[in-house]
Amino acid sequence: MKEIAHRALNTAKIKGATYAEVRSVRASTQLITVKNGNVEVLSEKESEGFGVRVIADNAWGFASTSRFFPDEADMASALAVQIAKASALSKGKGIEVESRPALTAHYKTSLIIDPLSISADEKIALLLKTSYEMQKKKEITVARGTIMTQKEEKLFANTEGTLIEQEIVKTGCGIGVTAVSGGDVQRRSYPSSMGHQGTEGWEFVLKQNLVEHGARIAEEAVALLSAKPCPSAVKTIILDGSQLALQLHESCGHAIELDRVLGSEAAYAGTSFLTLEKQGQFRYGSEIVNIDADATYPGGLGTFGYDDEGVAACNIPIVKDGIFVGYLTSRETAPLLGASSNGTMRASSWNRIPLIRMTNVNLRPGNIGFDELIESTDDGLYMETNKSWSIDDRRINFQFGTEIAWEVKQGKLGKMLKNPTYTGMTPQFWSSCDAICNNDHYSMWGISNCAKGQPMQVIGVGHGTAPARFRGVQVGVMN
């Protein structure tokens, strides 16, 4: 890969690029899905290729190919430069990126048990055992479990002399059931509804205790069929960690992407209400709300050694004591703030350009235990596991639904409720946060399906959260 990378960089310079970078990726992914006691999918995918991103005539161009041959390197580089020169026909003020010193580095995900060493038989057996537990109730029409493993070997090189090699391993799993009866359909999932992944080894799957939770979610899905619907009211709500992860993702994570703030996503998912003048002074949440973005967190799905511009992973303060203080930036956007890139440019694959993406965006834990949080709540709802989500194109008005909720009455968990939903406006919502559980209840959640860009890029991000309480929230938003 190195020889091809150097060939591509040289060709790009010859063709007129003032800056060029090459990123090659070899990815191997295994996916196993078991449904209703049968293997639904057992597949492996190998994908390899490299992309060349250049600046020529002060504009960006990018071309990629899956073929690792010198003439393909020449072709991709030449095409990238041609595309950049075409971009220059409408280039605005012109692209500038901060200069950075050359760097040579390596990074490898730290594993306890290599997930690639675990046989398909063993993984299937675990999922079949879990499926058996999930199917014990007759109302369960679908019981599905999934295990995913992926290894990515990445090489990044640029015309500044940087050369970085990384090996990143991801492991993930998830189970879900659908219960049907009397015209109603209810669903329960674990650990979350969108799968749960981390940059860890097989130990990630083992600690989820799928079999034990499989029985529980089946019981809950059936119980939901006869549960009362969530009332429509203004309530205190407590969100579990997995739902809070998605709340954080949608209302903060995307809003702090500086390229989005500057308008680069306006044609697709929109812009951001966190406009530049707000940095350092806007009250995003209550004083107990502290948020950071940490690409160094061990095992986080958004953890790596270096981003896809060759900038080292770091921890970025985003909200401090409720005040918005930081964006996710790149080599092109950070100088607009008088700063240096904080290393959040990530591409989903070799055939995509890097975009500013979340890494692990985390709500720092508070100082209260979960039992104490419930006991100190007089009248509210405890909501668990995301079911639906939607937010406006500046990240202000949102509506979420969870799979299940329980009433909290006079400090005790009470009746189960179905179809719970809640809605709000981002700054008001986060300003109503008056309690966050402590580190004992803090988990790093991995959301594998974050989408951004045209063409779309789906990437995995992490969110560290502990259950938290919010006051005065409209719940029960159904017509």
């Binding site: 049968n38 492996e44 639906s388």
Partner: protein
């Protein structure tokens, strides 16, 4: 054609590969794509890419055990390893008693899916077209963003039962959002032939919406009569397709079609179907199993009729695949990709004139299912929302959040537009008219 394989080369690849497999049944799917996309924001081109990739998927069947392997390295050694890997996976897998067989060959209808003009589009030409939009936006004191892409794709399928199907298709797509400080407008054009994309008309459409929706005011939440323009109406069609028109959703008991077959569930003027062979969509002659596409009438004159199948779901009911399989390894089951909603007799202007107080919705944003069985969806309006009073557009309003059962909405369709538009909805294509709906539930609003 750059990046695409000749049929002869594909047959050679498939014949060799199938010969290497000792499994009971083997399937090969080759999917190649050559994509160029020019993206712009703030009135300039900020991202501009080209991608070429070909993926071979091998599905191997041993008894009732199935293994799947994919590779994008197509040299002989890698192809051989991929077949071997798929076989190993099949043998390691557990039996699935519901699996019957890969599909047998059927005649494939030849349809026009490809336009040479799309394949010959250059980065320079795309840049010139984008420059036109940006220039017009600037002249009006507005900011343009968007994406203009041209794609040539090739799908080839073969299996050990003698099936072979091969098709090359093209698609050109332009979408733009034009903004002022207080408003925005959207336009989208889609065709197999890039020369049919009218850049000027699209930029005028988006600019006009942005200009007429400046300085919106707040509107209280509640149920309103609405006119949904095509971009918004397509969302209804898309979610019906995704949540209820595939056989898997029925077999799992979560489709709104369950228990409703033969019943009138919508206004009798509503017919909804899927037709991948139609020239009024982005056509595709066969699915990812090589089964020819068939027209499927989901709703006919308001009555729920049937759903679409792949070979696996069809086998469970003793039926035939309708040609709606997704790529190997997907777990969502068969889904419609080329949806149509019957047109009516009313113009958009007539719909507006007929309303005493209501809302004109250009488009929806970030719509998601709240309750799939009732197709209850939540989302926002976007890019031009207007109050209608006494038969006229009164003023623009700030974007509203809705939470609404699309099934109930279709039961309240009062007027159907006479003209239809082709709209991209995520992975599918929807041809829809505008709709007037008597009651649509808005549960809140945002600040802009």
């Amino acid at each position: 054609m750059k990046g695409m394989w000749s049929e002869k080369k594909i047959k050679h690849l498939f014949d060799r590969a199938l010969g290497l497999s000792s499994a009971d049944q083997t399937e090969m799917v080759l999917f190649s794509r050559d994509l160029s996309l020019t993206r712009f924001a703030n009135n300039y081109i900020h991202q501009n890419i080209h991608e070429n990739n070909a993926v071979l998927s091998v599905r191997v069947v041993c008894g009732k055990r199935v293994g799947i392997a994919h590779t994008n390295s197509l040299d002989d050694e890698k192809v051989e390893k991929t077949i071997e890997r798929a076989s190993v996976l099949a043998k390691a897998s557990a039996e699935n008693p519901d699996f019957l067989s890969l599909p047998r060959p059927q005649p494939i209808k030849e349809i026009k899916c490809f336009a040479e003009s799309t394949a010959r589009q250059t980065p320079e030409k795309r840049a010139k077209d984008v420059t036109l939009i940006c220039k017009k936006a600037k002249e009006n004191g507005l900011t343009a963003s968007g994406a203009f892409s041209t794609t040539v794709s090739q799908i080839a399928v073969a299996n050990s039962l003698g099936l072979f199907a091969c098709n090359v298709g093209s698609m050109a797509e332009m979408s733009t959002v034009v903004m002022s400080h207080t408003s925005s407008g959207y336009a989208e054009g889609l065709s197999t032939d890039v020369s049919e994309i009218d850049i000027e008309a699209l930029s005028d459409e988006a600019i006009n919406k942005a200009l007429t929706s400046k300085d919106p005011v707040s509107l209280p939440k509640g149920a309103y009569t609405v006119v949904l323009e095509e971009y918004a109406a397509s969302d209804i069609l898309s979610f019906l397709g995704m949540l209820g028109f595939g056989a898997q959703s029925v077999q799992e008991g979560r489709s709104f079609m369950c228990g409703s077959f033969g019943e009138e569930i919508f206004n009798k003027h509503i017919t909804i179907w899927d037709d991948g062979l139609s020239r009024y969509t982005i056509p595709m002659p066969f699915d990812f199993e090589g089964v020819p596409k068939r027209r499927v009438d989901f709703i006919k004159d308001g009555v729920a009729r049937t759903v679409c199948y792949d070979s696996f779901t069809a086998g469970k009911e003793g039926k035939h695949s309708t040609g709606h399989s997704l790529p190997p390894g997907e777990v969502m089951g068969p889904l419609p990709m080329n949806l149509f909603f019957s047109s009516g007799t009313t113009s958009l202007e007539e719909m507006i004139t007929s309303i005493d107080r209501g809302i004109l919705v250009s488009r929806f944003h970030y719509t998601r299912p709240v309750h799939p069985t009732t197709v209850t969806i939540t989302g926002m309006t976007r890019d031009g929302t207007f109050l209608i009073e006494r038969g006229e557009i009164a003023f623009p309003v700030k974007n509203l959040r809705f939470t609404q059962s699309y099934l109930e909405a279709l039961q309240q369709v009062a007027m159907i537009g006479k003209d239809t538009r082709l709209v991209r909805c995520s992975a599918s294509f929807c041809r829809v008219p505008p709709l007037k709906i008597d009651s649509f539930n808005f549960v809140g609003s945002t600040e802009f």
